[in-house]
């Protein structure tokens, strides 16, 4: 099967320029020139020694490079946060790391189970690399791994085996601190929100946080955990002192806590509408057919995911007392 055409180089360059023009001066495009590995993906430095590989809004298994990925370079080693939708994407990210630093990768942190964030893991399986995720991620991955492999195989046009699914070696409940040399990373396991196993990573030195899909920009937020939990979690983390965040989707860097505003508004409005629909005795199908959003023009993929979100919200909220 023919693969979807990747973005042309010109489009990518445009994406980088736009992203950097939009944000502050520390946001600089890095194009690796190192030849020891290839191809390396383009990354942006969003804070000192913190890099992001920007994704673009698209449907999983219909495109490459969907999620924002990143890495933080310490004096001792490198922490990678999310690995992309395929082994090839993971390798290109790994290559970008090696063109920027000679420090080894010591941690791969998966913010959650979704394949556009996690299927690049296999590119980092080697001695010295520890995979870290939320304590509930292994269960989610066990339930979904087979279907991810099946769909990734159909998309990539080749048969992927079970080695494509990499489980974490270390799981987190509450918070854990990682020392990567000269900087401390706080790994926080969240209560059910975007999924039931979201993790965020805060670099204490620069007050920059990778929030995974707790925050969406541009790409419509997708509910796969709990709409109530997600709203509560965003309220709670809004109080955390962070200067900048890297959302799971959208621009590579955004200000905090304003970055959470759109996701929070979308979810709150959706919850109000679905609750009202249930209260008036409306069923699931009619809710999906009728509930829209005042923000429908502001989000990409709205038509693709709105009905799904209404369904997820309905299935949760109908059990409220």
């Amino acid at each position: 099967m023919a693969r979807k055409k990747r973005n042309s180089g010109a489009q990518k360059l445009l994406l980088l320029q736009l992203s950097c023009a939009f944000f502050a001066q520390s946001c600089a495009a890095i194009t690796p020139k190192h030849e020891s590995c290839s191809p390396a993906t383009e990354v942006l430095q969003v804070a000192p020694n913190i890099y992001v590989r920007p994704g673009h809004a698209a449907v999983v298994f219909e495109a490459d490079e969907i999620a924002n990925l990143g890495f933080i370079v310490g004096d001792r080693c490198v922490a990678v946060i999310d690995t992309g939708g395929s082994v090839a994407e993971g390798r290109a990210l790994d290559c970008a790391v090696r063109t920027i630093t000679d420090r080894p990768v010591c941690y791969v942190i998966n913010t959650h189970v979704h394949p556009d964030h996690l299927l690049g893991n296999a590119a980092f399986v080697r001695p010295g690399v520890e995979f870290i995720a939320h304590a509930k991620l292994p269960r989610a991955l066990a339930l979904r791994g087979d279907i991810y492999l099946e769909r990734a195989s159909a998309y990539e046009g080749r048969k992927l085996d079970a080695s494509g699914i990499v489980f974490p070696e270390r799981t987190v409940t509450g918070t854990v601190e990682l020392d990567i040399g000269g900087r401390i990373l706080t790994i926080r396991a969240h209560d059910s929100a975007h999924t039931d196993h979201d993790i965020s990573v805060i670099d204490e030195k620069t007050k920059t946080a990778f929030l995974g899909d707790l925050v969406f920009l541009e790409h419509l937020p997708v509910i796969d955990g709990s709409i109530n939990g997600w709203i509560d979690e965003l309220d709670e983390i809004s109080a955390l002192s962070m200067d900048y965040v890297v959302p799971g989707h959208g621009p590579p860097r955004a200000s905090w806590p304003v970055a959470a505003t759109l996701t929070l508004q979308y979810l709150t409005e959706l919850r109000d509408q679905v609750r009202a629909w249930i209260a008036h005795g409306g069923d699931l199908a009619s809710a999906q057919d009728n509930i829209g959003s005042s923000q429908s023009d502001d989000w990409r993929l709205f038509d693709r995911y709105q009905r799904r979100n209404v369904g997820a919200a309905y299935a949760e909220l109908e059990w409220e007392d």
């Binding site: 279907i147 159909a154 955990g225 069923d283 199908a285 997820a312």
Partner: protein, 284 residues
């Protein structure tokens, strides 16, 4: 768009499909013939033998989304086009999803006391598949309303909800009525059951073992001791099963739901239906 590969069984039958395609009178029917090969190739015979089935939307109308955003929770609704009278009523509706493991999602039974044989619930759909609702009338006639749904992976994937919250509520039942109620008229009611409805198809990749099936297999709803709705259900029904149906309260009384799962756990719930004024019902 992603291509969904045909199953091997399907592939093996393609020769026959091509033959049938040549015989099909119109191009529009060609797709249907190919889509229906599991049905014509044995499913129909298994459930209904040689009994005649009228394919039309004259008796019941099946409503499902053409494309399901979440294959683990696909809303299904069936609307009856005749009232339930003692002389003529819909006795049973079968819901069959050809390509699901265990194609029969459920058999739903109605009585004249149902008032209307309308029904809404949610199913898992594992692959692009025809979905068919087949109604059997009290005099034994069969009518089929057929649709095609594009959905995949609904049986092996969890609904994507908060699993711990769902398990913590296991067996909780909500029974409620909707809208304005009037004595001796059909009233819309809903039975919700908190249950994971594990289908035994979700593999743990660490152990390579399947979580054992554990699902709701029987529900029965009665008003003042008389059955108004019952169902024999399989794991084709989504987690936290929800059924919307009708019943006719001739007077005040109790609506009672009884639920049994495959571990023979029993759950029940009752709802008082009281008269609020002349001919009006106080619902909820």
């Amino acid at each position: 768009m992603m291509n969904i590969p045909h199953s091997t069984v399907f592939g093996g039958l393609l020769g026959i499909a091509n033959l049938l395609l040549m015989l099909a009178p119109a191009a529009g029917q060609a797709t249907t013939v190919e889509e229906d090969m599991i049905w014509t190739g044995g499913l129909r015979q298994a459930y209904f033998g040689d009994r005649p089935i009228t394919q039309s939307d004259d008796l019941i109308v099946l409503d499902v989304p053409k494309r399901a955003e979440n294959a683990a929770i696909v809303p299904v609704s069936i609307t009856a086009r005749i009232p339930q009278t003692h002389e003529r009523f819909i006795k049973t509706i079968y819901l069959i999803i050809d390509k699901n493991p265990g194609a029969l999602a459920g058999k739903f039974h109605f009585t004249p006391k149902s008032g209307r044989a309308d029904l809404a619930f949610r199913v898992r759909i594992d692959a692009y598949s025809p979905v068919r609702a087949i109604a059997e009338t009290n005099d034994g006639q069969l009518y089929m309303s057929r649709r095609f749904v594009k959905a995949s992976g609904g049986c092996s994937a969890p609904a994507g909800s908060d699993l711990d919250a769902a398990m913590a509520r296991l067996g909780k039942i909500k029974l409620k009525t909707h809208g304005e109620g009037q004595l001796a008229e059909p009233v819309s009611a809903q039975l919700m059951i908190s249950h994971p409805n594990l289908n035994g198809l979700q593999m743990d990749q660490l152990t390579r073992l399947y979580a054992p099936a554990h699902f709701v297999r029987y529900v029965k709803v009665s008003f003042e001791g008389e059955e108004v709705f019952s169902a024999e259900t399989s794991f084709g029904i989504s987690e936290n099963p929800s059924f919307r149906f009708f019943f006719v309260p001739e007077g005040e009384g109790q609506l009672t739901a009884k639920v049994v799962d495959t571990k023979d756990l029993e759950f029940s719930q009752t709802l008082d239906v009281a008269a609020a004024g002349d001919q009006q019902l106080a619902l909820d």
